[in-house]
């Protein structure tokens, strides 16, 4: 009874709403602008053919516009604009989305191939299955990459026609090989994916190998285009005085002098190295996020176990690639500085330096997330409690290093804070803002993360090696020596001139890398055939760990967007640094806040699209549609509702 009253009430309300809307519309129409009555009267007097002065004026204006349009000669447009967002943001977002998908498409075959190879050597089917699971993500992502690539190309041609034409003038001989390689990549990728289980293992591995070779070659060509925009030439000691001279690949007017110098320009190889490593880290994290997504959706323990393992492997790949990434980034930044002090100072001491504080925060989050995931992973094994006591100390080390890395040299301060400090830098904390402290922090972060991994690896396992005590002590000595050396150089760096201090980064890096290698070499025989206190229970990990994987993927993506902006934005008002000026209305450096907003929106769009990729990839695992089953389900549903 009450329900009927409510329905009746809703009906009455709807009726009244319709009446009110119609009346309101009528009122608004009645009160719209109308020509004055005298004008209507005047028109009636003049008759239909003749126009009142206002109408005549409008007609004259239209005629004049038309005449002007006909008389205007054809001109090549230099720039075109996009309403609301502008040309730069359009190209920026499209380029970033293309790059993110391309990075993923290049990275996944790399580790899918390695996993498949491991499976082939170890003769374990589960690796083969895992590699296939990763490869499933490729097909749709490849289409996305191509779509955004085409979109970006059109955007460049339409919005920056003159500049795009210039790049074509410089790099026209590279376009055909690029297209051919792209075609070959499609061939290898689809034969690798659809040929899974259809070819012999060696033939299939060959396809995977070729896919990687072709993909890397494509990236190297594209890298030449973009690095040319930053460093259009090379540095070479042509007069033999020991000081490198600038050898431009183009003349002062921009005409090509040497395609070889334009292609193999100063920052080309540093970018190649940085991108290969970063792509693997990024690809691993996205694949791990896919596994997390499937884990959270999983209905059975078997599914959970599979995707837990997949997430672990994806994250493992990401972190292994991530460890050397700061060194590759440092090398790239040092090369940019060596190429041009203007770019170097702009990057590390100028406006863009603030973005490195954000970078530090993101990288700190990545390290924290990666360690957290490993700690949670200890719960998969019996006997994990033994190592739990170390987590506190590892966490303290990581948080301290994170804080040091995120400490700005010159803090954002209010007037009273500046007055209290006697300047923009704090008398004590400013020491933490210097390169010595940062290099030390990142090296200790890497060592700590590796330590977490070692603890994870040992959880629930007992070495049966006859010299286990000696070898474990040797590992501890190597680890502490590396840490002590890193800290020593970090502190000593404050007592020497900057040229020497910068060189201290090299022994710091080498001691950490050497420690990682030596400890790994010792660890492999030490834990071969180790006694296990219980089996690893894949799938027995708290769900929060899967959100950590998604968080890591998100941080990687954001980081790539942010650092991509820094590299590209450094050129400031130049399309090609020092050669072709950007004369468009967008030739200014946007505020840091605006730049981070664009990066954030791009990351959100990417995750929306990668969600579609995940969903499409997960469809292949679902049961086939069966009409009978659907009807039965429907009947049951209807029956349920009726009841």
């Amino acid at each position: 009874m009450t329900r009927n009253r409510i329905l009746f009430g809703i009906g009455v309300l709807a009726f009244v709403s319709v009446i009110v809307t119609v009346r309101l519309g009528g009122f608004l129409v009645d009160n719209e602008y109308r020509q004055p009555d005298r004008q209507v009267a005047a028109q009636e007097e003049l008759g239909e053919a003749e126009l009142v002065p206002r109408q005549q004026g409008i007609a004259d204006e239209q005629a004049a516009d038309e005449a002007e349009a006909r008389a205007r000669p054809y001109e090549e447009a230099e720039y075109r604009t996009v309403p609301f967002v502008g040309s730069r943001v359009t190209v920026w977002v499209l380029a970033q989305l293309h790059l993110l998908f391309a990075a993923f498409v290049l990275a996944v075959p790399l580790f899918a191939f390695i996993i498949e190879f491991v499976g082939y050597v170890k003769k374990e089917e589960r690796y083969n299955k895992l590699a296939y699971e990763f490869t499933k993500l490729l097909s749709v992502s490849f289409s996305m990459t191509a779509t955004f690539g085409a979109f970006l190309t059109f955007a460049l041609i339409i919005l920056y026609p003159k500049f795009t034409n210039y790049l074509m003038h410089i790099f026209s001989p590279t376009f055909l090989p690029y297209v051919l390689l792209f075609f070959l990549e499609a061939l290898f990728l689809y034969s690798y994916y659809y040929g899974w289980g259809k070819f012999g293992p060696r033939m299939h591995l060959f396809l995977g190998f070729m896919l990687n070779i072709v993909g890397t070659a494509i990236m190297f060509i594209a890298n030449a285009w973009l690095t040319f925009m930053m460093s259009p030439g090379k540095r070479d000691d042509i007069d033999g005085d020991g000081v490198p001279d600038f050898v431009s690949a183009v003349s002062e007017s921009g005409a090509l002098l040497s395609l070889r110098d334009a292609f193999f320009n100063f920052t080309w190889m540093p970018i190649n190295i940085h991108r290969i490593i970063a792509n693997v880290a990024f690809g691993g994290s996205i694949a791990a996020a896919y596994a997390a997504f499937r884990y959270l959706q999983a209905k059975s323990d078997e599914e959970r176990a599979h995707f837990d393992w997949m997430g672990y492997v994806g994250n493992f790949v990401a972190i292994i690639a991530f460890l050397p990434l700061p060194f590759a980034g440092y090398y790239l930044a040092a090369e940019i500085y060596a190429f041009s002090q203007t770019l170097g100072i702009q990057m590390m001491g100028g406006t863009f330096s603030w973005l490195f504080v954000l970078q530090a925060a993101l990288i700190g989050n990545l390290f924290l997330g990666a360690n957290y995931y490993l700690w949670l992973g200890m719960g998969r094994m019996e006997g994990g409690v033994h190592f739990q006591k170390f987590i506190k100390w590892l966490l303290i080390a990581i948080a301290l290093c994170f804080a040091v890395w995120a400490t700005p040299r010159y803090a954002i301060s209010s007037v009273s804070e500046i007055a209290a400090m006697g300047g923009s830098s704090h008398p004590q904390l400013s020491y933490l803002g210097q390169m010595s402290a940062k290099n030390t922090a990142v090296n200790i972060l890497i060592l700590s993360t590796y330590m977490s991994f070692l603890l994870y690896r040992r959880t629930g396992r007992q070495s049966i090696h006859p010299h286990r005590q000696l070898l474990t002590r040797a590992q501890a000595i190597v680890f502490s020596s590396a840490a002590a050396l890193v800290i020593f150089y970090g502190v000593y760096g404050y007592f020497v001139d900057s040229a020497t201090r910068i060189r201290f980064a090299i022994p710091q890096v080498y001691s950490v890398l050497a420690a990682l290698v030596v400890i790994t070499v010792i660890d492999l025989p030490l834990y071969r055939n180790a006694a296990q206190s219980g089996e690893t229970k894949w799938g027995r990990i708290p769900a929060v760990s899967q959100y950590a994987l998604i968080f890591i993927a998100l941080s990687f993506t954001w980081l790539m967007g942010l650092m991509g902006y820094v590299r590209s934005g450094l050129r400031q008002e130049w399309h090609v640094y020092g050669v072709i000026l950007d004369t468009s209305p967008d030739a200014y450096t946007p505020s840091l806040g605006f730049a981070t907003q664009v990066v954030s929106v791009t990351v959100l769009i990417f995750f929306g699209l990668i969600g579609v990729v995940f969903w499409l990839s997960s469809l292949s695992g679902k049961k086939d549609y069966a009409p009978g089953a659907a009807a039965e389900d429907g009947g049951r549903l209807e029956g349920g509702q009726a009841a």
Binding site: Q341, A399, P408, S413, G423
Partner: protein, 272 residues
Amino acid sequence: MLGLNLPVVIVLAAVGGVLAWRRANTLTWLLYTWVALWAFFKYGFAVPIPQSVATIYLGITGLALVCFASSSRERLSETAQPIVRLILEPRYRLALAGLLVALPALAAYNVYADLNVPLEAPGFGREVHPPPPTEMTVHDETVDMATAENPYLHYNHDDPELYGEHLENGRRIYYENCFWCHGDGMGGDGMFAHGLNPVPSNFNDVGTLPILQSSFVHWRIAKGAPGLPGAGTPWDSMMPAWEKFLTTEEMWDVNLFIYDFNGYEPRALGQH
């Protein structure tokens, strides 16, 4: 000592000691860590650290504590248990009621304290090394900033006598024009320095001259404050544009002198 506010540090350490003695539970330790660090950042330094930096540090601390509390099932339940007991057990009813009042009151006070700050003009940081232009014109001569070097530097090896003459000329120019602000010993502490904000550059600093190419220093001497780039404005520098008072040779000579006086070499092109 070490720029720390010792009484605050001692009190915080003493509270930590009491917690250790009383074998406090995980939740108490987590709360103590966060509050102690907040108090340390706010009151623990003789010169207070800027709010922006304290916020970064406390954010990291918060994240790390959440990670720690949830890093294993056992630790999570250990942390959560006192909260569950507080909510469920009747003997804590009074404490729970107090907490329910205290938490919103604390949030309200925080809002009040945040809004009740004295109004002040925004502070401007100073970019110590603004990026130079790619090229500049000095006395009708175009200088390529990437490749330009001090033309007299090579005399150091090729013709030490001539090098000495240029150095001597640089010394004369420095002590006629520059030392008023940059100081006798080039420490940025000349007799006018106290009246300038930002203070003049300290050429003794290991982080200044050695990381700059001599073209950068030439740019700063020639163009001074009026030639500073648009990015990072407003600039408050009082450095004159010396190209209006000195010849090109004189500017390179003084450039030579300030490097030589401090025992530094200019950063070479292509040097990392």
